[in-house]
Amino acid sequence: MREAAVVSQPNPLQRIPGVAIVLVLLIALFGVLAPGFLSVANLSNVLVQSTILTMLALPMTLIIMTEGLDLSMGAVLTLTSLCVAIVSLATKSMLLGLCAGIAVGAAFGTVNGWLVAILGIPPFVATLGTLGMAQGLSLIVSDGQSVVGIPHNVRDIYSATLLGVPVPIVMALVTYAAFHALLYHTRFGTYIFALGGNREALRYAGLSANRLLIAVYAIGGAMAGIAGLLMTARMNSGHPTAGLGLEFDAIAAVAVGGTSFERGNGWLLGTVLGVIAVGVLRNGLNLISLPSSVQVASVGVLVIVALFLDGLRSRS
């Protein structure tokens, strides 16, 4: 917390290393250990696998910047994925399915934001509560069964390509661009920094912190809706447990990416690198066939190593 004596330009390059070092190390490691890891097919594989997580981790970055957290994201993703499946099955329209997913996701996000902002319930417990609700609803709407037989165009979303690039990657890139623009080039983005950094400042500026907070959580829910489409497309079905626990991977990716959990400092590109690092790690460990009991600890160790490196660098 010392004040820096010398004023320096904010240099994004200074921040890359934590996660970038980890990523480069991982790629080098698996490049040597796992034949086939560096093949184009495998790398594109990793990227496509990372798309759903990217779409959760980007809004999670914003939420964490407000000193918040959304534990319900995985469960909401599950629910929206089911909604996409059920509605597109019933109406034969992918678009209606997507709309349903986004609507349900945004509704849950709004409830989260309302609990946190208006009722002042700590984000951890508020979203733990809605997690349970989303999970319960998933079981109820699906009756615990997979939803199958959904229209073909839904599944095609996941495997199609646009100018040679897989559609999920295109969607993730568009999402990144949108979040980048939102955070760094709009007033709303500016206020997100203030939500975590100094909420008083917002109040003195005559802005409603509550409404902003609700919006941030609602965006998270809506993104879970869009990710729900990808999830359904990937499985060609809806399943009542499909996305459970993904919020932890999302939070881990945000942490690895160098976003701080205090004072509103977030870095979207870091989050994306964090997501890719998680994906590379999982893929590489599978390729070298590490026993699953060891793999269980892998993401946790990744987070700790990355933050440890970050800490080392910031201290020196």
Partner: protein
């Protein structure tokens, strides 16, 4: 010789899948092949098994033995394997789609039916019964519970007090049983959809100093020990070891252009205190059925 077989199971903690993996290892060893195991770190995680398939396809094992974590949601994964032209054998849960060299499985319905019948026979066709279900919606659970209930219908003297989920978990079953004992003063029989829950229920009964006949399903080591000591009445043999053996055997045989059997649905066996001996030895020391025996194990 030296083929690599990738074996996909659902999780690390259900003893059933452990028996499948050992069966696969034993079969592969006896045929000079080797196995690689793929187990989701999050139990039964669909996205994770999908990713594992995508990753394994890059590695190109010679053949795959496959248990889908969800029989419907994993169809796109199976299709990826098919597209990569890797032969795949489906065991345990029958996949709702995709092309397989063969299917080896057990019939959950008749397993549930036969074990429940055995319990009801022991009770003389009457008594207060509770069912502890597995994970709601899972294929195995739906069929086993259907079998349980049909056996109860055959015995009008019996009464179903409650049917509650224990999610195949020992602790959850224990807790469910503790609570059920509070609201029901007389419980004569417990039908548990797997052994772990059966053992949990026994712990709860012991803790409350109450007695009831309990059956489980899977024929795990724990269950055999409990049958031996008289605490568990019976366990329906799901034949995980044989499924692992035969699945791997068919996978290797098809690679070697030897004949394979396209479908084996294993006959249900009820393990009781009268016939547990063959099961009462370490898994690794058991021997796989031969190809010739395999045909006879099939119920159809």
């Amino acid at each position: 010789d030296g083929e690599t077989i990738a074996v996909f199971t659902k999780n690390q903690t259900n003893p059933y899948f452990q028996t499948v993996r050992v069966g696969a290892d034993v079969a592969a060893k006896s045929m000079n092949a080797k196995t690689l195991h793929y187990i989701p770190t999050k139990p039964d995680s669909i996205p994770e098994q999908l990713s594992q398939i995508e990753d394994v396809v890059v590695k190109k094992p010679n053949s795959i033995v496959f248990i889908p974590v969800d029989y419907k949601a994993m169809v796109p994964g199976v299709e990826k394997i098919n597209d990569a032209k890797i032969p795949v054998v489906n065991i345990t849960d029958r996949s709702a789609g995709g092309k397989f060299v063969s299917f080896i499985g057990a019939d959950d319905y008749s397993l549930g039916l036969e074990t429940a019948r055995y319990l009801l026979k022991t009770l003389g066709g009457k008594g207060n019964i509770v069912i502890i279900e597995g994970v709601k919606g899972s294929l195995t659970n739906v069929d086993r519970v259907r079998g349980f209930k049909d056996a109860l219908k055959e015995n009008p003297g019996s009464k179903l007090l409650a049917s509650q989920p224990g999610n195949y978990q020992r602790l959850q079953a224990l807790q469910v049983m503790e609570n059920l004992m509070q609201s029901n003063s007389q419980i004569d029989g417990v039908l548990a959809a797997n052994d772990a829950m059966a053992v949990g229920a026994i712990e709860a009964l012991d803790g409350a100093n109450r007695k009831a006949q309990v059956i489980g399903i899977n024929g795990t080591k724990e269950a055999i020990d409990a049958i031996k000591s008289g605490k568990l009445l019976a366990s329906g043999d799901y034949n995980g070891f044989a499924q692992g053996c035969l699945g791997t055997m068919m996978a290797i045989r098809s690679l070697r252009d030897q004949p394979v059997i396209n479908e084996i649905v294993l006959k249900p066996t009820v393990i009781t205190k009268d016939n547990y001996q063959p099961y009462d030895q370490p898994l690794e020391q058991r021997t796989c059925p031969t190809f010739e025996e395999a045909g006879k194990l099939a119920s159809k």
